[in-house]
């Protein structure tokens, strides 16, 4: 190692060639573990999946020949008789973003080697995630049962202006795909949390898997911010 650093100092080329030499460095390109590198690259790929979904949504919404329903009305939650737009979604968003916070603290404890706190905070994150999925199921059932929204469009006689068939399909597809990501994340985090409690990572002297799981979780949260903006605010 020292020898490598020395020779790099002596012979590192300057300018553009230096940039190339840095990137094409010996043995490893990124000074991180294999698993972390893989997670980053996977998330890049997954970004393209969600990107395609969202761009598909925008394209469909702009090209459909039927009028789009008023989202403020469809997504309102009645509380004490008055419909309040976006109330449920605001709570869901708040919960999911809070879960990113607990996850970040769990990563911090992981690097301190505090397996008890890692377990508690990761399970708390799972709990937030589960309540998010639960509220999403509540939202879906409300739309399906009360509002008459179906994946192939509104059933006849719905009370909303605008009945583009694509509204239901794209909504259920994208939120469903995101909900699937959250559910997988909950299972993933729970496995890591229990393994941490078992002391498996302590024995290895390496808690990095917690950070890698955290990367995935933060990504899922970040995607939600975009879905929130494009589905509920537009």
């Amino acid at each position: 190692m020292a020898q490598q650093a020395e020779s790099a100092e002596l012979k590192a080329p300057k300018g553009l060639r230096g940039i190339v030499a840095d990137w094409s460095s010996d043995e490893t390109a990124f000074k991180v573990s294999w698993s972390k590198a893989m997670m980053w690259i996977f998330l890049l790929s997954d970004t393209f999946v969600f990107g395609s979904f969202l761009i598909g949504y925008m394209s469909v919404r702009m090209s459909t020949s039927e009028p789009w329903p008023n989202t403020a009305e469809v997504f309102a939650l009645s509380l004490g008789g008055d419909p309040i737009p976006l109330l449920l979604i605001a709570i869901m968003t708040f919960i999911l973003i809070s879960s990113s916070g607990t996850m970040a603290i769990a990563v911090n404890y992981a690097y301190q080697g505090n397996k008890k706190m890692v377990f508690i905070l990761m399970m708390l994150t799972c709990l937030f995630g589960l309540s998010f999925v639960g509220m999403q199921m509540f939202e879906w059932s409300k739309l399906l049962l009360d509002e008459g929204l179906r994946p192939w469009g509104f059933i006849p006689g719905s009370h909303f202006e605008g009945d583009a068939a694509q509204f239901g399909s794209i909504f259920f597809m994208v939120t469903g795909f995101h909900g699937l990501h959250v559910s997988i994340g909950v299972i993933y985090l729970a496995i890591v949390a229990f393994r941490a409690r078992q002391g498996r990572y302590e024995k290895k002297g390496n808690y990095q898997i917690v950070e890698i799981a955290g990367l995935y979780w933060h990504f899922v949260d970040l995607v939600w911010v975009f879905i929130f903006a494009f589905f509920y605010l537009w």
Partner: protein, 609 residues
Amino acid sequence: MAKAEHVEAEQHHDDHDDHHEPQGIWQKYIFSQDHKIIAIQYTLTAIFVGLIGLGLSGVMRLQLGFPGDFGITDAFYFQAITMHGMIMVVYLLTALLLGGFGNYLIPLMLGARDMAFPYLNMLSYWFYFVSVVVLLASFFVPGGPTGAGWTLYPPQSILPNTPGADGLGIVLMIGSLAIFIVAATMGGLNYVVTVLQLRAKGMTLMRMPLSIWGIFTASILALLAFPALFVGAVMMMFDNLLGTSFFMPAIVDAAGNLVSASPDKPAYSGGSPLLFQHLFWYFGHPEVYIVALPAFGVISDVLATHARKTIFGYHMMVWAILAIGVISFVVWAHHMFVSGMNPYFGFFFASTTLVIAIPTAIKVYNWIFTLWRGNIRLNTPMLWCIGFISTFLIGGLTGLWLGNVIVDIPLSDTYFVIAHFHLVMGVSAVFAIFAGLYHWFPKVTGRHLNKIMSRTHFWVTFVGVYVVFLPMHYLGFEGMPRRYPSYGEDFNFPASATDLNAFITIAAIIMGIVQFVFIFNMAWSAFKGKKAEGNPWESTTLEWQTPDTPPVHGNWGPSLPVVHRWAYDYSVPGANKDYLTQDTAPSATAPRSDRHLDDHGTHNNGHED
């Protein structure tokens, strides 16, 4: 530095933790986690499914050459063109080049013991296997496979009168694609991480053989392009099964009724068929380069080895691969010039299409300059390389034509387009695969292929592709459209066009039969061929320097190789032999020229002591 050391220690831990020599046939040969076995599994499965694709092309040619004489129904013809296209592009070329060559070459050429994630690698193969089974299952369901054409354009692919749309054909096709995408993602993550993180000491990126550069860049393209196809497949699945209208506008059937997915669903309305075209080609064009870039890499390495010359312009070759990779994401709509797009978009996509020809031309020139005054050894892999350059050049030039909107529109959907993409993407990629298979066969099996059979296979195939595809250019100019099972009286073709079709069919059948010479040659030589020594082609790259041939589990014996030079030290002045392997230490050789030190030895000379 301390952190880097920590990482390194941990990786070595990872490396040895899960790696012990597997025992028993199931673990060793079936559910193997060894990259070499997985590569062979991928290759054999891809060749098997490719033979089915070849058979389907025979069905098409029989119908076109002798319409009606062989009892081929129109529906079966449409199913044959669809399955032929999808099988060849995705399940043969992509799987063989990334899954087969990628798996075999990445760890061996980079001096690693295996892939970064062997278990994921095994899963990748088995997902691929399941996707092939699902795809082939569609031949056996009521209604048969989908006949929508390999691009699966809606509304055609969803409308009930299309073959396979009433039964499970289209559902199995898109389901199979979705499973394939999962397999390709798992494989791609593995290839990218392995190239970035698992190289031997001294193997900087700029010393990697070009095969690895091609496979690496293609893997990145796969990770970024397949998502769009995945999304399109999910949407189309919902349009089929749930009755959503992502891609389906309101549409009436021949009886004048609005079409719906099933009687209990409302009619389709308001969807955008164009959205599918965008999603498909946003995947589909990079897909061309997912196939082409590994082929470019393989050709570069095989060419340099058998021409006994340094590859001409190594750095430019690398930059050209990367440039092609980037630009390939902004050319997709040149497949859609007739979709009624805004002329300014047409202008943009025509321009990017012509721009991508520049790095591609750099590569072709560099291959030719590599041959220039080389000490060419006309071994069978070299013949395939030279064949590749010629088919790629001719197919590429017609690509320049078709990239222009004004030329493309009249030629769109004619046999000119068929001839273009078969030469540039089909035949060229297959030639590169043959070059690679003939080149690495002695390393994989420890035996040589039979020379007479190899030469027969090459010459008949090489002449055959021109006899088959050159006349198709002419037929395209005559206006012969693709995807027609027969042309009847309505098309006013000269009689020569009909004769030409029969001629092409006979040539294609002969060429198809000769491929079985190759299959037999592989099977026979793997057991009975002349024994090969470790480095029969006198190649510089690491995979030829393994202690055992074929390489055993762990590849390198007790210690990993250390790399001291780039991959193309052929015909080195003053050296004992006419080549220096990548792991030859400098002290063992005559001094090299300073230029090589500058270009390829920077930053890492510390290892050379």
